[in-house]
């Protein structure tokens, strides 16, 4: 009987079509600005021995991009067999300031895809490097393809700031922002994923993943899906994309980094109080309204003698919570002590190492923290998701907090 079910299951899924190339971004064209001059006005860093020394990699793996407002990002990329696009040695230089080490390594760490009827449940990594989609010029508007699978480009990000002059044109301040994008695409079954790393000229980092390509075409009952065919015959099964990123922050250097959690106590009251929790040991944390985290090196200070830090905001998750044997779904952020063998959030590929991120949290003292961010998207299909399925994005934000003593943008 089961065999018959399986044979019947050889149903042809929805026809696949190539996603349309994205529109060209006019703002990303034109000459690149020169690197900020060494004698530009200091933005507030007091570091005497700049971090972020010589680049660890050469062409075509080195990305070194100055943006029009004088901010500069430098990093090395690698297309790894398992994790796909991986960024190493990410260094941010604010206008007029010294280079700041931010991330030693950053990559996707898993895409967990459970369907609403309970099955199937996929772990989409997958040799991502082997799944990489060859990019065309249209996939990389205004930018430069590095080899076949990676695009490095810049694009407009809207207003960087706006401050009225109240009638005084000289005093009016308005500036359009720009961002650097490093992206690659992966074909995993009927889905195509677009993985972007966005580096803003305001020092922000936005990792995000877009899902496009085709729907699975899996038919289910009305309780688990949405009718996408004519009438009410084909109910496409709803499912989650639970995406994990691994961020190995090395603020200033590999040691001494700390992670803090911020909450604002006071519900139903006018007054709110900031509550700071420093994680001394490995931790799992869940999202709360207004909650955020930051990674800092307590001894690396800006000109105001405030610790240089990187804030993590993860307020955009559907917060899927799975069964007991998927305990990795039960937190939104994990902080673990660095271990070279801990690379993926689930189905970790290295032997004699724990298997999933929830189990990496084992009470170790934190001196070199790795942050794992889990952002979930629940996809309830709609008629518009017919081929080529419009991209849906999920991601989070990393913001500089006191990297400079003031806004470094001119």
């Amino acid at each position: 009987m089961f065999l018959r079910i399986a044979l019947a299951a050889f149903v042809i899924a929805a026809a696949h079509a190539t996603p349309a190339p994205r529109a060209t971004l006019a703002a990303a064209s034109g000459a690149r600005p020169a690197a900020p001059a060494g004698n530009a006005a200091p933005a507030g860093s007091v570091r005497t021995a700049p971090t972020g020394g010589a680049a660890a990699c050469g062409s075509p793996y080195l990305v070194d991009q100055a943006l029009p407002n004088g901010a500069r990002w430098r990093m090395c990329w690698e297309m790894r067999t398992i994790e796909g696009l991986t960024l190493n040695h990410v260094v941010y230089t604010p206008r007029g300031g010294a280079p700041q080490n931010v991330l030693r390594s950053a990559a996707l760490a898993q895409i967990h895809v459970p369907y609403d009827s309970g099955e199937p449940r996929y772990h989409d990594l997958g040799s991502l490097g082997e799944s990489a989609i060859a990019l065309t010029a249209a996939d990389c508007p205004g930018g430069e393809r590095r080899g076949t699978y990676v695009c490095v480009t810049t694009r407009a990000r809207g207003h960087a700031h706006l401050k009225d002059g109240f009638g005084d044109e000289e005093a009016r301040r308005s500036r359009q922002g720009e961002e650097l994008v490093v992206l690659s695409g992966y074909q995993v079954g009927w889905y195509a994923y677009v993985a972007e790393w966005v580096f803003g000229d305001d020092g922000s980092i936005t990792p995000r993943l877009g899902a496009t390509g085709s729907l699975a075409g899996t038919v289910t009952t009305p309780g688990h899906g949405w009718p996408i065919g004519v009438g009410r015959r084909h109910f496409e099964e709803s499912h989650s994309h639970n995406v994990f990123w691994r961020l190995d922050f090395d603020v200033d250097a590999a040691t001494r980094d700390a992670v803090e959690q911020y909450d604002f106590a006071g519900t139903g009251t006018k007054r709110r109080f900031m509550v700071r929790t420093r994680f001394a040991t490995e931790t799992r944390a869940v999202n709360r309204r207004m909650r955020w985290w930051r990674v800092l090196d307590p001894r690396a200070l800006n000109a105001d003698r405030h610790p240089i830090s990187w804030e993590i905001d993860n307020s955009d998750s559907a917060e899927y919570r799975g069964p007991a044997d998927e305990a990795f779904t039960r937190a939104d952020l994990y902080v673990t002590q660095y271990h070279a063998c801990e690379r993926l959030a689930t189905q970790n590929p290295l032997p004699r190492c724990r298997n999933s991120v929830d189990r990496y949290v084992s009470g170790e003292r934190l001196t070199d923290p790795v942050v794992w961010v889990n952002v979930d998207f629940h996809h309830v299909a709609r008629d518009e998701d017919a081929d080529p399925m419009p991209v849906h994005w999920q991601g989070f934000r990393v913001l500089p907090r006191d990297v400079t003593a003031k806004n470094p943008s001119p």
């Binding site: 399986a6 299951a9 696949h16 990699c57 690698e78 082997e130 189905q347 590929p349 032997p351």
Partner: protein, 222 residues
């Protein structure tokens, strides 16, 4: 919980097919990270491995293993990744993933490329890195060798392409690891396969799992 029904497949047929798709390392080389440079003269410390480094690391790692297991097709080099651990940033090191289907043991050998030798070896069971390209092909061969699933796959291909399926090379394949808390796939190397046909459609293979260790196909029940 999900149940798994095992379907024994004609062992002889599968053995023949597996022998045909198993290649020894060096016979065309393992699938590898996508190196973008034509063999770089001298890579920087943080550069991805060059094709030459990948080849050398694979050779050194397989030389270090029991040759008989490789020769018998029992063990296989899956792929080679750059070791980008933080302990020795300047060194060019590679990690070779070797899987032994007889004992379901994964061995990762770290090769120091400057010294040309294995400097670290870690082995264990219960760890399943993503499937390699060769394993995806082998999983498709197992399904094709299954009397009824194979028939279904051939018929679907014929409908989609208007001509008979010649080999797995006609199919676009992508494999993902399947693990289960209990049963064969708790220990074995089990692969779920996405199969795209020439007309752009996908087979629904969500219940089909190829067990590369047992050389069987499991049908998931839920």
């Amino acid at each position: 919980m999900r149940g798994v029904m095992m379907l024994a497949v004609s062992a002889g047929a599968v053995a023949t097919i597996t022998a045909a798709v198993l290649l020894l390392p060096g016979d065309g080389g393992p699938p590898s990270a996508r190196a973008e440079l034509p063999a770089a003269v001298s890579p920087a410390p943080g550069d991805p491995l060059t094709p030459d480094e990948i080849r050398r690391a694979g050779d050194i790692a397989t030389d270090a293993g029991p040759r008989a297991h490789f020769a018998a097709g029992r063990a296989e080099l899956l792929y080679v990744e750059r070791d980008d651990g933080k302990s020795d940033e300047g060194a060019r090191r590679a990690e070779a993933y070797v899987y032994d289907y007889g004992t379901d043991t994964l061995t990762v050998r770290t090769v120091d490329l400057a010294r040309g030798k294995v400097v670290r070896e870690v082995s264990g069971t219960g760890t399943q890195p993503p499937p390699s390209k060769r394993e995806e092909t082998r999983a498709a061969e197992l399904i094709l060798a299954h009397p009824r699933l194979g028939e279904g796959m051939r018929a679907a291909y014929q409908r989609a392409a208007g001509k008979p399926l010649r080999s797995t090379a006609d199919l676009w394949l992508r494999g993902l690891i399947y693990t289960a808390p209990r049963g064969d796939c708790a220990e074995h190397r089990c692969v779920r396969l996405f199969v795209r046909l020439p007309d752009g459609t996908f087979l629904d293979t969500s219940r089909v799992v190829a067990d590369l260790s047992a050389k069987k196909v499991h049908i998931l029940e839920w």
